[in-house]
């Protein structure tokens, strides 16, 4: 069983929901990334989504855009992201890792090379924001052969036909975008999300995580009963950059990850 399947099976058995933090690799510094990943797990994260920096992150709001810019200023490449994953795996064999990014850096490396290197580094899933199902058949085949789940976005505006098309390619879990907007937006509508999730669940048994617009324990707790997991990105990154750069890497990681502990207890309550 894959790490992702194992985590979702265990959560379901215990009646809990997945807490999925998102950070950008190398932001605010490459030295902070692996300690932060471990700290997020310690404070209650079940799965980690690791952003692969890109020069043109078209679907991101301002907070995550700046995270990509800082990572690129630190000269973080896809190769380096895989090295950080390798380092993380030395002391954590269980927490699933999902890389989230844009198609061009992966295309430039080549899907086969990426899949082989990512699998040996210990990556469990890939979410390519700008890779629609129409273009994804071959990449999905290559990723799956390497044991990597291809994870897709679903939007509030996805039609039934598209939902069917996407679930036919997806594995691991589905990432349902909670609103019409970019990451970190503030216009979350719980009722609309609930209706959307019900319509998606008619076509698939895959776990569904919800993201975009989850800021704190309150918003996470409102969404968690509707789905199998919640993703927290912008709010965590805001917390991270607000930490004092003079503090040690461990202190900064602990301060930022405290948000994850807060959300953990809110969704478990």
């Amino acid at each position: 069983m894959s790490r992702l399947a194992a985590v979702f099976a265990k959560l379901e058995k215990n009646g809990r929901k997945a807490l999925v933090p998102y950070i950008v690799a190398g932001d605010p510094s490459p030295a902070l990334t692996v300690p932060l990943m471990h700290e997020l797990v310690r404070q209650g994260a079940d799965i980690l989504e690791i952003g692969v920096p890109f020069s043109d992150p078209m679907a991101e709001g301002p907070v995550i855009q700046l995270a990509h810019e800082r990572a690129l200023a630190n000269k973080v490449t896809l190769t380096m992201v895989l090295e950080l994953v390798t380092e993380f795996r030395k002391s954590d064999q269980d927490t699933p890792l999902v890389l989230m990014g844009y198609a061009n850096p992966i295309e430039r490396m080549g899907y086969q090379v990426f899949a082989d290197r990512a699998a040996s580094a210990g990556v469990d899933g890939l979410l390519t924001v700008d890779m629609p199902p129409e273009e994804a058949e071959q990449p999905t085949r290559i990723l799956r052969a390497a044991g990597i789940d291809n994870i897709f976005l679903l939007a509030p505006t996805s039609s039934e036909d598209r939902i069917k098309k996407i679930v036919s390619l997806a594995s691991g879990y589905l990432y349902c975008v909670s609103l019409n907007g970019v990451t970190g937006a503030g216009n979350l509508d719980i009722k609309a999300v609930s209706e959307k999730l019900a319509s998606i669940k008619r076509f698939t048994d895959l776990p569904i995580t919800v993201g975009f617009g989850i800021k704190d324990g309150v918003s996470a707790a409102a969404l968690a009963p509707l789905c199998e997991g919640v993703v927290v990105g912008s709010a965590l990154i805001e917390r991270l950059v607000a930490t004092d750069a003079d503090k040690t890497v461990e202190q900064r990681a602990a301060l930022a990850a405290a948000l994850i502990a807060e959300i953990r207890s809110a969704i478990d309550a």
């Binding site: 992150p57 078209m58 679907a59 490449t77 190769t79 700008d130 629609p132 897709f152 505006t157 907007g181």
Partner: protein
Amino acid sequence: MSSKVAKADFSQFPDASGHFGIYGGRFVSETLVFALDELEAAYQRLRKDPDFQAEFDHDLAHYVGRPSPLYHAKRWSTEVGGAQIYLKREDLNHTGAHKVNNTVGQALLAKYMGKKHVIAETGAGQHGVASATVAARLGMSCKVFMGEDDIHRQALNVYRMKLLGAEVISVKSGSKTLKDAMNEAMRYWVTNVEDTFYIIGTAAGPHPYPMLVRDFQSVIGREAREQCLTQNGRLPDALVACVGGGSNAIGLFHPFLDDEDVAMYGVEAGGDGVDTGRHAAPLNDGIPGILHGNRTYLMQDEGGQIIETHSVSAGLDYPGVGPEHSWLKDLGRVNYVAINDDEALAAFRKLTLVEGIMPALESAHAVAYAEKLAKTMSPEQSIVVNLSGRGDKDIHTVATIDGIGIE
């Protein structure tokens, strides 16, 4: 025989999924797919709607001022001493460039789709001005996304847009230029898909944009083809147009693609020189990849990050290019060449002095290449150059290069 195959082919692209060979497509977040589906469905319906086409043709004739002349630059041709050079005078359009052909078409689409608000991205400001112009005419609100650096460089066009009632939104992310303005416009669109129409300014972006921008701009080539036949009784031997995103070039080229004896030259911005790396010539020195919703040749580094471009001409300063150009390059149907900043500036001065026509710095790239090409041809042959815009907007840039301060 082979020409018949070619004829069938060119008219059938993009294919049903928006591809030109391996290029094009729709590489966007799922959140944008609904809006693109809606746009595509509306356009497929309206392109066959006689009322829509009649209104578009009417607006092109009476608002834009079409057809634009095909002008025989006799003095310049004689001085060059080779082929006869004709200028397709898109600079004489309302707002001073070919951009308005497309904004009139897209704004009309917005109107038929019942959208009340339009947004646009702009680099030098020409597309922003053309969008603000049509929005003013149709009583729609208009937001123009523009990189912070470009806002400082193009203060005159920023003010023009404001006079036209548009709101100019400063984009501070990334390199603060055209590509970032496009990212930001896409982000705004995702959040406001219900009531907002995004007017993309060039033949790039996700399907159906490369197709519909090409279709709206193809009036240039259709007119030029007919004007050549009327004036000379035959087709030209070569077409020359500058290529940034490539909308004026595809507009000129497309109606001639089946005419095998018409050679075509797309002229990219060579900046300091293609071999210096400081340029905006992805078809000459780029690698295919994915940006702004389509697969196409891109300026990118080894890690797949988009790199900064350099050109004296803001309108060509873009790291990608329309996907149909990438396809035409690989097919060998169009030759893509580059002209450096200094050559374009020399052509700007030359055409101004010899013909009394001041070209936009973008168009000056095509002018410069046409002169090189004409020298290799005979006086019985002819070249059509797309004079895609007028140079008034660039006087400040040229004066600065000359060391003259103009306020």
